[in-house]
């Protein structure tokens, strides 16, 4: 399906955790395949608890997947070990939501970045200093920040530092886990523009994990929508946002509040009722069926395969082709009238 070769490919990845319920497993990521091409920003969206972070953490080796493959430039990471694995994996860097957690409060910013430079074999003091300043400049911070401590910086500045440090090892892929969620709107735009510039200037590919759908729409060229450990829809941002085809994507998009009170005045009942079910006991068949307005008996029987409704645009729903053709989500009779707003 791809014309360009991918820089990162994840195939059928499964990562699960021991559940608090004895003998059971939390299937946080349950058979996910995704792909990133060089220099591409790809969004990963879905409600909290659907497995976005676990997928990202599995890719960088912070979680140990139970099965599946992770390929960097067609090299299967699971075939590597020890030092070779560490070196190869360096090409994939993780940017956390809370940069405070990933920065050491007893290290100056300069020291933190230098530490990363040493890892890739830059030991010369002058070269280190020059590179620190280059990196700070790249993320839009003045030289003087190098002497500061993390606690002396604002949230937006800290996130820039965290990005500078991940760039120090010259990665090919950034996994950004909600990198601007903790930032205020006016600062958020600045950091988002930094990602866009870095992607253009350095060609770093970026998996952008976020629950803010409007943000992803603008930043990413393609997007994956995740629900309860599975990818339910994927495609270009234009396709997914303009012609959402999975009932979940449609409900998610319909839930975004508009800042225009005239539009909000026409809002009726919430688009999606209840909470995401527990990944320990996911519903049979289609995992979305317990909240889906279109669910019919067949949805409980088998897991719906991804239906390709356009080039690279897929949705895992038995009604995908119909929804794409008619632009309406079927509401089968008799309609399930929810008694309560929460599951």
């Amino acid at each position: 399906m791809s014309s360009t070769k991918s820089v990162l490919r994840v195939e059928n990845l499964v990562t699960r955790f021991k559940s608090v319920e004895r003998g059971k497993w939390v299937k946080a990521v349950d058979g996910v395949s995704i792909e990133l091409r060089p220099g591409e920003i790809v969004g990963l969206v879905g409600e909290s608890g659907c497995g976005k972070s676990t997928l990202g953490r599995s890719i960088v080796g912070l979680e140990r997947p139970q099965s599946g493959r992770i390929l960097l430039d067609d090299i299967d990471l699971s075939g590597l070990g020890g030092r070779k694995l560490r070196e190869t994996r360096r090409a994939i860097q993780y940017v956390f939501q809370d940069p405070y957690a990933s920065l050491n409060d007893r290290q100056t910013i300069g020291e933190a970045i230098t530490e990363a430079l040493v890892i890739i074999g830059i030991h010369d003091r002058t070269r280190q200093r020059r590179r620190v300043h280059e990196l700070l400049d790249q993320v839009g911070l003045p030289d003087t920040v190098a002497e500061r401590y993390p606690r002396e910086l604002s949230g937006g500045q800290r996130q820039r530092v965290a990005i500078a440090r991940s760039l120090a090892v010259e990665p090919r892929v950034l996994i950004c886990d909600e990198p601007v969620s903790a930032l205020d709107l006016s600062i958020r735009s600045q950091v988002m523009n930094l990602f866009l510039t870095l992607q253009k200037d350095l060609g770093v590919a970026c998996l952008f994990i976020a629950h803010d759908l409007a943000l992803v729409r603008q930043a990413a060229s393609r997007v994956y929508v995740m629900y309860l450990g599975k990818i339910v829809e994927q495609g270009t941002s234009l396709d997914v946002y303009e012609r959402p085809t999975h009932p979940y994507t449609r409900a998610l998009l319909a839930s975004i509040p508009s800042a225009d009170p005239r539009i909000e005045a026409t809002r009726e009942v919430p688009a999606l009722l209840g909470d995401i079910p527990s990944p320990t006991n996911p519903p049979s068949g289609c995992r979305f069926r317990t909240r889906c307005p279109s669910a019919v008996e067949a949805c409980a029987v088998a897991e719906p395969p991804t239906v390709w409704v356009g080039p690279g645009h897929g949705a895992a729903c038995i009604f995908a082709a119909q929804i794409r053709a008619t632009e309406v989500v079927p509401q089968p009779e008799p309609q399930r009238l929810p008694q309560q707003l929460s599951a």
Partner: protein, 336 residues
């Protein structure tokens, strides 16, 4: 709509004295809220939204000394200078509160049912068994699924959205006239946020409550509020009906904030609009307009004299910016 005014805040200042610093996070704020109406207080983090609402209720963490000046009339009671016992009676009684993080406000070691029942015992003088059955009614009121079973559950057994419903049940237990909700949906997904907003609107209608809702999300403002106060660095930058302020913002800060919201027609890959710089770190009161260093329209006097919050050409909207009033045509005033 001539509803009864429930709350009138006039020229409120809050000074906080800690061991290390003295700051004024709330600096001359005024607004009012009527029965059945929602006022949104919107602003970036650190702009003083929480202190503004909770310092007067005596809900600041220990170790901070609070000094209030100005006036807060709740019905006809003056809250500035009120004695603690009288304040305690109002809190959880005719003034309900909801915090951003329900986990920190709920007792992890007690059941949901007990915690809700306590409020009714305390403020409505119900017996323990009456309060228990009222707790069940309240869980039904906030539309909890399986309310009988929920009564016996502990906070950690619930999802974020359900916990927030419990907080709402506690806050409305004594049928308050005023509900103060501090970022009640910030930690929630948009899907659950939509459910909570719908619930708050429904409860408001039934109880004819006035709501003060603190948020930084303009979408939430548009969804629930009739009026909005936009805060910047402890001061109100713009204040007025939501239909005016959000649709035709006048103050350069409000304009920048609303302009920064991604729109459906922004091309994928296009740069994000936003404001330059960052909000000030609060310390000594700022002499001029706090927004001046980030403002594209600032002139010299903006840095020197503090602009008063005055009515604009649309009399229901006031803005603290002499420039927009000089131009005399709010929304038509051009940016960039």
């Amino acid at each position: 709509m001539a509803s009864k005014e429930i709350l009138r805040v006039s020229d409120l200042c809050v000074d906080l004295f800690t061991q290390r610093s003295v700051i004024r996070p709330v600096d001359g704020v005024s607004y009012s809220v009527a029965a059945g109406e929602t006022l949104a207080i919107v602003g970036e983090s650190g702009s003083g939204k929480t202190v503004l609402n909770f310092a007067p209720l005596g809900l600041m963490p220990t170790g901070v000394n609070v000094d209030l000046s100005g006036s807060i009339l709740f019905n006809d009671t003056e809250l500035v200078g009120i004695a603690e016992p009288a304040l305690r009676k109002l809190r959880g009684g005719s003034i309900g509160t909801i915090f951003q993080d329900p986990m920190s406000a709920l007792n992890p070691a007690r059941t949901i049912g007990r915690q809700i029942a306590e409020v009714s015992e305390l403020h409505m003088g119900l017996s323990s068994s009456q309060a228990e059955s009222r707790a069940l009614d309240l869980l039904k009121l906030v539309r909890m699924s399986d309310p009988d079973a929920r009564l016996k559950q502990y906070p950690h057994e619930l999802s974020g959205g359900l916990r927030q419903r419990v907080m709402i049940a506690i806050a409305v237990a004594a049928e308050p006239q005023l509900l103060i909700a501090d970022e009640p949906t910030t930690a929630l997904d948009v899907t659950v946020q939509a459910q909570i907003i719908a619930l708050l609107k429904d409860l408001q209608k039934r109880l004819n409550m006035a709501i003060v809702l603190i948020t930084h999300d303009m979408g939430v403002v548009a969804g629930i509020a009739s009026r909005v106060a936009v805060m910047y660095a402890g001061r109100v930058a713009e204040y007025g009906p939501v239909g005016d302020v959000l649709v035709e913002p006048r103050h350069p800060y409000t304009m920048g904030l609303i302009d920064a919201i991604p729109r459906a027609d922004d091309a994928p890959g296009s740069l994000f609009r936003g404001l330059p710089g960052a909000p000030p770190i609060l310390g000594a009161p700022i002499p001029g307009c706090a927004f001046a260093p980030r403002c594209h329209a600032a002139i010299e006097s903006c840095h020197i004299t503090r602009p008063a919050l005055v009515s604009t050409v649309q009399p229901l909207v006031s803005a603290a910016c002499p420039i927009i009033n000089k131009h005399n045509h709010g929304g038509a005033y051009v940016q960039h």
